[in-house]
Amino acid sequence: MSSSNEHDLMREFVRELTEHQASLRSFVGYLMAGAQGVSDVTQEVNLILWEKRGQFEIGTNFRAWAFTTARFVVLGHRRRLRKEGLLVFDQDLIEQLADEWQAQPDEYQHRLATLHTCIEKLADADQALLRVRYSGHGGIERMAAKSGREGSSLRVRLFRLRAALKQCVERELAVEGGIS
């Protein structure tokens, strides 16, 4: 292979990995069901893909390859968590969930953009609550103390916001005809 071809291959590999990074992370989180270490596992998947980049061929289904790799890494991580006595899904269920996720069309970026649209429709206070919960810059309890509200009331609010956002995303996509 010429160095020019190698360069093209590398650029394409990096482009694919970059493009699928968020959905890969999402897939790992979904299979791990709230367990610790989503970032670490995603990182491990990236490293394996990087090590195996020599097997990558332009035009092949990168998503299928990456997600299958991720599935195996999650299963490996699951074994470790289970040994530590943590709650993790059974292997069979993980396989089933993975199959069903991979059977879905890849519209992650579109869903992310739709979510942003939905978030923008929320009141400022609700947006702030989401930021606190998901940005990692302080806990719900800290925000409760700061705002003078009960932590439990914020959690209820968070519950409703998530449900509303989920409905909003589904509704927006259905309107666009982008969802079955």
């Binding site: 990096v14 970059t18 709230g34 092949t60």
Partner: protein, 532 residues
Amino acid sequence: MTNRELEETVQRLVDGALEEAEFNRLQEHLRIDARARAFYRKSMEVEMLLAEGMGQRVEIRGNSGGMDQILLRRRKRDVTRATLATAAILLLTAVVMTFIMAKRSNPPALVCDLVPGTQWEVAGETLESRSGELKVTEGATVRVLSGTVRMALESGAVMVLRGPAEVRFPKLQEPVLVHGWLWLDTADGAESFTIETPGLIVRNVGTRFGVRVPEAGPTEIHLIDGVLKVTRIDGDDEAITLKPVKNSGFLVSLVGNVTELPLATDPFPTLRELLAAPLDYRTTVLGQGPAGYWQLDTPDEKNLKNEIVGGIVGYRGNDATPGKPGIGSEGRFDGFPDANHAIHLSGDPLTSVITKIDIPGGVSREEGGVSFWIRRRQESEREEILWLAGRTPDDAAIFPKEAIMHARLARSGQAEFFIENGKFDILLSSNFSVVDDRWHHVAASWGPSAVELYVDGKRIGRVDDFGSLKPGVMQGEYVRFGKPSHELAKEGKQSFSGWVDEIAIWNRPLGRTEIAQQFKAALGRTKKPGSR
């Protein structure tokens, strides 16, 4: 569980606030209810989208510099990760030091011998076949791209790794088979071995056996002698005990179901001879573990010898005539010693055919490979059938009425490969003619991830968006070379009129490197196969 309950449970799950009993209830519910799984998927998707969209996302550049960020991105506030990173560095240092110390004290190793033509990698370094002692120590990852590697321990136990395959050796007696074929003969059985595959652990109790992890589907276990214990990595259930069954191997699913399949050929009896043989096309093909290989070098016989021990013998029709030694390039494939023959097919619609080029268990529609050499003069523009695997729906005839898959020559001389696959038939074609009175190597590979066509060692067609290949098996008279099926004959396709040599069939997809190695091995003997 109502939708409301499910939603609450999922949210408590992502908040890390779920009790074990609730978790188990959720898991049971997801297991049996597809709607609940869809609900969970959408909930988790929004959760991960929120995590991504509300500040945890790190911008990634779309060039090679972005790799650093992808591989190294960290949350600034994540003290735990920094601690882990430090621990990892310390651990790595410890591993390196251990490795150095171990090297000094001459650690146990697998001494490797290679079948000529083998291409392999140890820890990322690609190595061609070469002389001298090669060793693999604990911690190594071995990838065989093409060919066969024999690995022996001091105790006399021998492993055979047949490419394409990848094995990690956290311990020499506990290999982890990522994919491909690993055979093990524990000699006197004194040593305990375990082979880990995705989802299973195979423990030997004094055995000779092979394990295959295919591209998709359950692990295969081929037990020649002794007893094996198989357990699921994640199962609490008791080990499954496997004992040899005549002519049968075992498929073991991730949930522990065991079904039988045709026993693969034991590689050990022929290994010594293969290792000592010179590098040529034959050793390269044999090193790749075909299920059937007909060199077509038995000129005085109607029966065509199969180079695989115990393999199915082929048969040539009256108008399939062997070439004789000494007739030069006319009848001889150039990549072989002088004793090599080829077969000339006259193109007669009835008797110009090589039949019964079948493999144990038959040719699978779902995965396999075929390779052969052809040579044809530029005489007429005919659509001609090369290799064909077909069926007769009612099994009432000894000839294939339908062709399920076949290789052919198009009217203008292109090599083509076709698979009948329901709504999504697959046709691959070269964009150049191979009808030029020169020898050409043609190979096709099909499996769950791709169908590919190669000419002269180069891939000239690939398709991977067909969903899946339909199941089914073609056997016996229905696997042949040179003659169309009834239906193809009705479409005007004709019998092949030219030379054919070295037909080989695999029960697994062939890798790109393997096919390139076949062609390269043929080049190595004399002049370029394409030349006259």
